[in-house]
Amino acid sequence: MIEGNVWKFGRDIDTDLIIAGRYCNISDPDELAKHVFEDFDPTFAGRFVPGDVVVADANFGCGSSREVAPLCLKAAGVAAVVAPFFARIFYRNAINIGLPIFELPDAARYFEQGQGIRIDPDKGTVVNLSDGTSLQAVAFPQFMQKIIGAGGLLQYAGERLRGLENDR
């Protein structure tokens, strides 16, 4: 169960805003986390409480394919990102590295900055703890569930690689 407070964002939050290009030669996730959302709000990293949840409007993670974007959100302690939909590369990257994301229609309409939020990742239920509204996130396609179930794409790939080698 994920429970924390909401950090609210608008639409079209691009990966340059999540982590600026100038930091993309850093691979240490904890170092990256110090600069999360820096160009959006330089005080964000200092104020964000690990375990809290990002709720954004549509098209979260658009732009660059930089995997350091979901990596630094995860390292900063973002427990989940909830948005109506994600830009496709960000969506793949988040699943691949194990940053919990939830597609929730009109997500931004149901939450205000600082409100309490509880997410049941297995059931996909998202609750606004401040006003009690209970919502249902879009279920992941079966194939994605297989990747998540395997423990991420790398684990899935290891299994698949063995399968391919047995076929040869």
């Binding site: 549509a58 098209n59 394919s65 995997e67 979901p70 830009a87 590369i89 990257n93 790398l154 790939a157």
Partner: protein, 419 residues
Amino acid sequence: MAMTMTEKILAAHAGLSGVHPGQIINAKVDLVLANELSAVVAIEEFGKIRGAEKVFDPRKVVIVPDHFTPNKDIQSAQVAKKVREFALAQQTLYFEVGRTGIEHVLLPEQGLVRPGMLVIGGDSHTCTYGGVGAFATGVGSTDVAVAWALGEVWLKVPPTIRLEFRGKKRPWVSGKDLILYAVARLGVDGATYSALEFTGEGIADLSVAERLTMANMAIEAGAKNGIFAVDAKTESYVRDATDLSYTVYESDPEAEYAQTVVFDMADIEPQVAFPHLPSNSKPVAEAGDLSIDQVVIGSCTNGRIEDLRVAAALLKGKKVHPRVRCIVIPGTQKVYLRALQEGLLETFIQADCVVSTPTCGPCLGGHMGILAEGERCVSTTNRNFVGRMGHVQSEVYLAGPAVAAASALSGQISGPEEL
């Protein structure tokens, strides 16, 4: 079953006779690209895949250090070193500084991407290769690592949106203006998860360079890929680059499209996209009086010889406005040499431009032209997000090479017709 080009390429690489939008497939990849920034993360991830020691086929793995090269600082040098060592150990295709260029200018030029191929790359602008009739899409580093190991990638078959450009180009309009106009119409999320297929008389008239420019920015509408039909121009371009074989796929006339958007070329003037989204485009004639500090001509969008020719023709015998820094970045060593042979570099230098070695550099705020607080830049690159080229309060205006060169001369955002 009737299919689009995109669907046919995906079906062929998944070993299926047909695919439909929404279907999830495992597809064989013909080429896996990474630059030094995506590769350095992918190398870590590759090491975590149980049983993965060698890449599936070193001739189908290409690594291009181009973002922060020539190394801009120690951190970047460390990254480049790690990536170089991996490339040499794995014997992948690798282009070192001096032989390299901006990945999406380099790969088509080298004949490494050809019609009908399925290419994935650890860079969102991998979609550029749809300009030569390939299916190409950007992914993250973990997907790259897994494709290195397996030689395949899982993909959801995208619905295709057809963009039809009717009529003929107006003067000074280039592929860049068409794509800025189209992205403005679609919105930055207008094509999310979809394929964009560019069609119509207006497209047939474009050079392959302009098609690569347009496919490059399909991602700016959120698309998975952008794609163009293969014609005599494509075949001639590819034949000049390589003797390697390729397969041409055509969309069936009865193929199903999610939607068709029609553009009248008569409506499309030279464009400029205002901060801070590529979709904030308007005719340059409506830009108003906006003085500028810098111009960048180059990048994976507009760093080809054709782009440099357009800029040089406007700059020849003139001087860049005294307040403006004009930075010209040929996309590859080959483009650089060609520009030298054609006298374009002399034109640029005599016009008071600086000419840089090929690099992505300023486009993503790396180096070679970072903006200070409050500065304004007209750039032929593809993104104008907040802080993209430097200070969080700097501004990037996206345009084609003609508008960029005209603005460099006048010192404010202006179209070539105003000169």
